[in-house]
C-alpha cells in the first residue's frame, strides 16, 4: 500500500556512460498527511459542537387591566432594576423615595452582589426583582439581566415597562454625569 512501481521502463535503455540511477525508495512519508488529516478532524469536531445555539425560556405574565387582579409586589421585598444606555444600571429597593435618595447606579459587574445582598436580607416569599429596561437599553442588557436572575437563582422576577418618574430620574442622573 502507498507504494507505486515507478522503476519499470528504463531497464533496457541504458546506454554507455549513463549512470545507473540509484533505485529510489517509493515509500512516501505519510506523516504530514496524517497531521493534516487530524487537524481537519479537530476543526470539524469543534465546529459541529459550537454551532448549536441555546435557548433561554421566558414566561410572560398575563397583563390584567383590573388593578385588584395584579400581582402586587410587596414593597419591602422588591428590588427594581432599571437598564439604561451604555450598560448602566440604576436600581432602588422598595419604593422610590420622592427625593430620589435610594436611587443608585451601578453596572453589570456590581449588580450581582446587590441582588445577592437583597436576597439574603429579605424573606424569600416577598423577594421579587422588577426589571425595567428603558428605551436606550439594548436587547443584550435585557438578556443579561434575565440571565442574572437564573445565575442568582431568583425565583420571582418580572419584566415591566419603565415609569415616567423613573425615566426622569435616569435622565436627570445622566444629565448630571455625562459620559
Amino acid at each position: 500500500m502507498a507504494e507505486m512501481d515507478t522503476s519499470g521502463g528504463d531497464k533496457h535503455k541504458k546506454g554507455p556512460g549513463v549512470k545507473k540511477s540509484k533505485k529510489q525508495s517509493t515509500r512516501v512519508d505519510l506523516t504530514p498527511m496524517v497531521d493534516l488529516g487530524f487537524l481537519l478532524i479537530t476543526f470539524f469536531i469543534f465546529t459541529t459542537s459550537m454551532s448549536q445555539p441555546t435557548a433561554m425560556r421566558l414566561f410572560l405574565p398575563k397583563d390584567t387591566d383590573k388593578p385588584e387582579e395584579q400581582n402586587k409586589a410587596k414593597e419591602s421585598g422588591a428590588l427594581t432594576i432599571m437598564l439604561a444606555k451604555n450598560d448602566v444600571i440604576y436600581y432602588y429597593e422598595g419604593m422610590l423615595a420622592p427625593d430620589g435618595s435610594n436611587f443608585k447606579s451601578t453596572n453589570f459587574k456590581g449588580i450581582r452582589d446587590i441582588i445577592l445582598t437583597k436576597k439574603k436580607s429579605t424573606d424569600p416569599k416577598d423577594f421579587v426583582v422588577v426589571i425595567k429596561p428603558n428605551k436606550e437599553s439594548t436587547y443584550k442588557n435585557t438578556v443579561d439581566m434575565l440571565d442574572e436572575m437564573t445565575i442568582n437563582d431568583v425565583k420571582r422576577y418580572a419584566l415591566v415597562d419603565i415609569a415616567e418618574a423613573e425615566q426622569m430620574m435616569i435622565a436627570a442622573t445622566e444629565g448630571a454625569n455625562p459620559q
Partner: protein, 222 residues
C-alpha cells in the same frame, strides 16, 4: 554471558493505516457537519447560561436585527403557507394563490403587511439584498406583529409551535418590547430566546446548585 543480539528494527512506522483512519474520520465529520443555514440576516446573539439547545423543528423565529428591524421566518417543516393564508384572510390582502406560494418560499418576511404583494413579485434570492424595512412594531396602536402572531397561531394549529426570538446585541429594547407585546396580545406567553452558550460564573448560586446536582447524580450512580 553472551549478549542476546536484538535484531535492529527500523524506526519507520507505516503510516498508511493511521492515514486511512484519519481520513475516514475526516470524511465522517465533513459529511455529518450541518453548517448553519446561510444566515440571511446577520445577528449577533447575546450569551446566556441557558444550556438547553434551541429547537430546530416547527420553529417560528422572530429576528430583531441591530437596527431594531423585525423579521419573521419559519423552519422548513413549518406551515409557512398556512400562516400566510391566515394573514391574507385576516387582513384581506387579496393575494393570489401563486403569490402566496411565491411568498412562502422566501427566506424571511420583513416588510409592512401592505407591501407583501410587491414583495411577492420579487425573486426570493433578491430579498436579503433589498434592505427591507422590517415589520413595524414600535407603534403600539398599529403593531403589525400582532397580526403576524395571530396568523402564525392559526397556521400552526395542531402543531406544537416553538416560538423563538433572536435579537441582536445592539438592538434597542423598544423593538423587543413591541414583539413581546404582540405575543402577549395573542396569549403566547411562552417563548424562547436564542443565545450563545456561556459558562456559569464560579461561586454563584446556579454554579453551586449545578455542582450539588452533579454530586448527587454521581452518588446515585455509585
Amino acid at each position: 554471558m553472551p549478549k542476546a543480539k536484538l535484531p535492529r528494527k527500523s524506526t519507520n512506522i507505516d503510516m498508511t493505516a493511521m492515514c486511512d483512519v484519519a481520513f475516514l474520520l475526516l470524511s465522517f465529520f465533513i459529511l455529518t457537519t450541518k453548517f448553519k443555514p446561510s444566515e440571511t440576516l446577520a445577528v449577533q446573539t447575546p450569551s446566556s447560561v441557558a444550556s438547553k439547545i434551541a429547537p430546530q423543528k416547527d420553529v417560528a423565529l422572530v429576528t430583531i436585527d441591530k437596527d431594531g428591524k423585525v423579521f419573521v421566518s419559519f423552519s422548513e417543516d413549518a406551515p409557512t403557507k398556512e400562516v400566510l393564508e391566515a394573514l391574507n384572510t385576516n387582513r384581506t390582502l387579496g393575494l393570489s394563490d401563486a403569490e402566496l406560494t411565491a411568498l412562502s418560499k422566501g427566506p424571511f418576511f420583513g416588510v409592512p403587511i401592505s407591501q407583501l404583494k410587491s414583495l411577492a413579485s420579487q425573486p426570493k434570492d433578491n430579498w436579503p439584498k433589498m434592505n427591507l424595512p422590517g415589520i413595524p412594531v414600535l407603534d403600539t396602536i398599529n403593531n403589525e406583529m400582532v397580526d403576524w402572531m395571530r396568523a402564525i397561531k392559526t397556521g400552526f394549529q395542531g402543531i406544537k409551535m416553538n416560538l423563538l426570538v433572536k435579537g441582536d446585541n445592539a438592538s434597542k429594547y423598544p423593538a423587543f418590547k413591541g414583539v413581546i407585546d404582540a405575543f402577549k396580545k395573542n396569549d403566547e406567553m411562552k417563548f424562547q430566546m436564542v443565545t450563545n452558550p456561556e459558562g456559569v460564573p464560579e461561586g454563584t448560586e446556579l454554579y453551586k446548585r449545578n455542582m450539588s446536582r452533579n454530586a448527587a447524580a454521581e452518588t446515585t450512580e455509585e
